[in-house]
Symmetry: C2
Subunit: 564 residues, 2 copies
């Protein structure tokens, strides 16, 4: 290995205070982020501004994406933007029998570097990604279908925050045991027994990160950085429709590793040929000891069942519920819910699906409202929010794939349509499939309707489910979380008793609860360093982003003891 | 629930400083224990002295062991001491369809008590067990076959230490996230977004602790207390030959829980009828969300494969190796190894099995020693250590079951016997099966011999395996750990290069290493708060005792956020 261009001192000078702030914030859970949310914050100190970011993105298109990985046996790729254009990027295809052993070659040096250096290198990777946030934003937009501003924020600073959070947890966890200890056990009048002990965090092996289509960076970075910071090489297997943001990530990581004097093959990319299904092959390889996955319940459960040689962290599907009992800010509730249902066309694992509303109506600051009134008013709120095409495009983004469109179209047949979906033309991208959400009325007491609301309908579809009472709503909430899982639960109530009751359901069923949100925070958004994403305690996910359980088993501690 | 006799203040007054010391020690990993090792230290402050402990043990025999658990549908039991006598104790047999729901009833109150109160209640349980260490010692001795002093120490203070260590880790883990946080996100010129957040550790569900025959308390307490301290009810399923120590534990736990105002059914006992195989039934019940298991690889792997609804922590079998390269204290090495091979007739998961010795011999402070000399001298050291029957009985204990005796007898046919096993008469217990270890010479280059040394032969059997060189030994060590797993590795060398090489193998294969032990610390012993037991990173165990990975996933954190 050539002499490192990035010295430990330089890395510490640049990043140690950021790491310390992250370590402090995961304990206080106050607001903090080192990654600016506003596009105009970029363009200085070596970061790309809007124009440079767009240019950088464009320069990636219609060519090969070189990575100089071992074992490249061909080129593959075929991403088509949900906004229409084919990206035309080809990625190296890996012979995993060559790549996997090569990824292990640098493990000992990466281990010997220690937890702090690993953390600092990860922070340098994140800093370089941050500087290219405008470039990443376009890559995320044209793979996920997110509108530009969301792709910028969720795919940029928010994803980087989640990566940094994972690094902080990984560092904290690895340094809980000291590097060495002197142990002296008294033996009465005899000399004490004395041992010198050393404790070294060691990696499990190669980690596989299986990316998703909708949030390639946001959902990918926690696992990627948690594994890398704990000493494991990481093989990144993107969703075939959302390769580019993760390929860029891998390229940056490899550059930084090499500059810091480590083997760049500690991070590598595995892109599959059409229909190759490489995730299944990789997942059961003996070298793969950790898997992070975001995606369908079916494949998540397949991984949990079959990848027995690995620690498997999955985020799968769930059915998110909002209990509507009463409110002292009817208008705020409606506008808050309208935004949550609309953002990214409901294509978030955290978007509410079932709105449980008593059939006898609710009390509000605007007087009693019947079930029908609530649904009608919500439909009007969504309609108003998305009435302007420019605003609708900016909020909705594009449907990520034809399956979502098919589900949306089928949803209208499931019950009485309270708000019909409409096509929104996109002047910049005429081929984009942009749709407003549909709201369908269902009856919580009808078994036929249960088939619809009791399974995930991913996309811009929500169900206004009439229930006999709030008590009935809480029982349905409990059953939904227990059997189907949930990433989020929301509730609106002015009753302290109901608030306690919904909290109790969420505590017992392990679901994250947002109460009475009527302003600028939405049930489907979580903030790194403060909010947990998922609980890891219900069927929607077996891990939370991010807690120590997410990092503690990615490494083991080897003790060497010597007679002193 | 009646008013608590044990108030939180009283518990804190009594135990908070012990908890703090434990929390401090798991970070420094210095020596510490609040539980005296010497039998004479007991008898004051309400603890039972030797005579009272023996009386208490005897009063348990030949009668029903009452627990007042829900769902008792009969009585069962049939423990026979490895020292001969039948214990004659009958335990309640549980209808699990009644018991499991009853165990869940107290969960909400146990959760609401919070991490500190749960820890303090666990410390009170441990303190009461500690006061009855003499009673437990007999119960452990007459179920495991350990000699009295070992049953006293390993089954008493050392087990209590491991339980306390788990409580400390559980407390530390649950308090890493604050109970509440105020979150305020600046919005430029607009008002900040503000949320009030609460974070509550919540249990996963009922935990099942499946006990083992040889160390019912030592191997059982970490899982039991880790689960209880993190809010989970614990169902204790003892090995059918080692029920009494865990039945006593359950009784004490239920007493303390009730006195502290909690539901005693948070801890319950499940004893099986002969041949009932209740562990398999319980392990896949949906109520069971955590399993701790110590025992055979076959059943451990069955649990890992089938109990998919639960977090499964297993300690299974491994093949422990000692690499003998060179030493500057030949006599010390021999006596240290002789003790390790003899203690509890090698019936420890940490006992060395394979001694890898270069066929060209080793260098020592007493001059060069050939392979044959090393083996002969080690045999003589074991023979000398166990030459006196009284001392032999005190070190060896009794063979725990007929399978161990059968393996011992078969081992003599596997190769040239360097040290034959001998029967040791036990004057106090004429029916006890007491045997000294056998040492068998095998050739590391012969495939036929590999069948013997490359699988676990649990009991007083070790193999002196000749190898071509230390390099050869390290490759065999690596392969053994990787394929068969290891709880411990030992090595003797005066070469800094060899030391580094063996460390590298252990770091790469995730095995705990003891180097050049020649005094009063043995490779098969670990100390709570300082040493890790197992690594959780090789096939011998998927968890280490005790680290945060062992506790962090036994609970989840539920966040409730409200607009501020």
């Amino acid at each position: 290995m050539a002499a490192a261009q990035l010295t430990t001192d330089a890395l510490a000078e640049k990043h140690r205070s950021t790491l310390d702030q992250a370590l402090d914030t995961i304990r206080t859970r106050a607001y903090w982020s080192p990654h600016p949310e506003h596009p105009k914050a970029y363009g200085e100190n070596g970061s790309l501004d809007a124009a440079a970011g767009l240019d950088a993105y464009k320069s990636l298109l219609d060519r090969r994406f070189e990575l100089d990985q071992p074992g490249t046996d061909g080129w593959t790729g075929g991403e088509i933007s949900p906004y229409g254009p084919a990206l035309g990027v080809e990625y190296p295809h890996a012979d995993i029998d060559v790549l996997l052993p090569a990824m292990r070659a640098g493990m000992a040096a990466w281990r010997d570097a220690g937890a702090e250096v690993r953390a600092l290198v990860c922070l340098e990777i994140l800093a370089r990604i941050s500087a290219r946030t405008h470039e990443f934003a376009h890559a995320v937009m044209h793979t996920s279908g997110q509108a530009f501003m969301m792709a910028f924020q969720a795919g940029g600073p928010h994803a980087q925050d989640r990566g940094l959070e994972a690094v902080a947890y990984a560092y904290a966890e690895q340094t809980r045991t000291p590097g060495s200890a002197d142990w002296s056990k008294p033996q009465g009048k005899r000399d004490p027994l004395e041992l010198a002990k050393s404790f070294t965090p060691v990696a499990r092996g190669v980690a596989l990160m299986i990316g998703c289509n909708t949030f390639p960076t946001w959902n990918g970075y926690p696992g990627l950085f948690a594994s890398l910071a704990t000493g494991n090489p990481v093989l990144v297997k993107p969703h075939p429709r959302a390769v580019l943001p993760l390929a860029l990530t891998v390229r940056v990581a490899r550059e930084v590793l090499a500059e810091a004097g480590f083997d760049p093959n500690l991070v590598a990319l595995a892109v599959e040929r059409p229909g190759e299904g490489i995730a299944k092959t990789l997942a059961v390889r003996p070298e793969i000891r950790i898997i992070d996955y975001t995606g369908s319940t079916a494949f998540g459960e397949w991984l949990e069942t079959h990848a027995r040689q690995a620690q498997v962290y999955t985020e799968k599907a769930g059915v998110n519920t909002v209990v509507v009992d009463s409110t002292d800010d009817y208008k705020g509730m409606l506008s808050n819910l309208a935004f949550s249902l609309s953002l990214y066309s409901g294509q978030m694992c955290t978007t509410p699906q079932n709105l449980l509303i008593p059939r006898d109506g609710i009390t509000t600051d605007a007087g009693p409202k019947s079930y029908d009134e609530v649904v009608t008013d919500l439909a009007a709120a969504v309609g108003g929010l998305l009435g302007d095409d420019a605003r609708a495009n900016a909020l909705l983004g594009a449907l990520v794939n034809p399956d979502v469109k098919a589900r949306l179209e089928a949803a209208a047949g499931l019950g009485e349509v309270a708000l019909a979906s409409r096509e929104v033309p996109n002047p910049d991208f005429p081929d984009a499939v942009v749709r407003t959400p549909v709201i369908v009325k269902l009856d919580g007491s009808k078994p036929d309707d249960e088939a619809a609301y009791f399974s995930e309908c991913f996309g811009p579809v929500s169900f206004a489910v009439s229930v006999d009472s709030t008590t009935d709503a809480l029982e349905l909430l409990r059953r939904t979380v227990r059997e189907k899982g949930a990433m989020t639960v929301g509730a609106y109530t002015t009753s302290a008793d109901t608030e306690r009751a919904v909290e109790e359901v969420c505590l017992e069923e392990s679901a994250q609860l947002s109460l009475n949100l009527t302003g600028g925070v939405y049930v489907n958004q979580t903030a790194a360093f403060s909010d947990f994403h998922g609980s890891g305690g219900n069927p929607a996910a077996n891990a939370a982003l991010c807690d120590s359980a997410f990092v503690a088993n990615r490494f083991r501690v080897v003790e060497v003891r010597r007679q002193a």
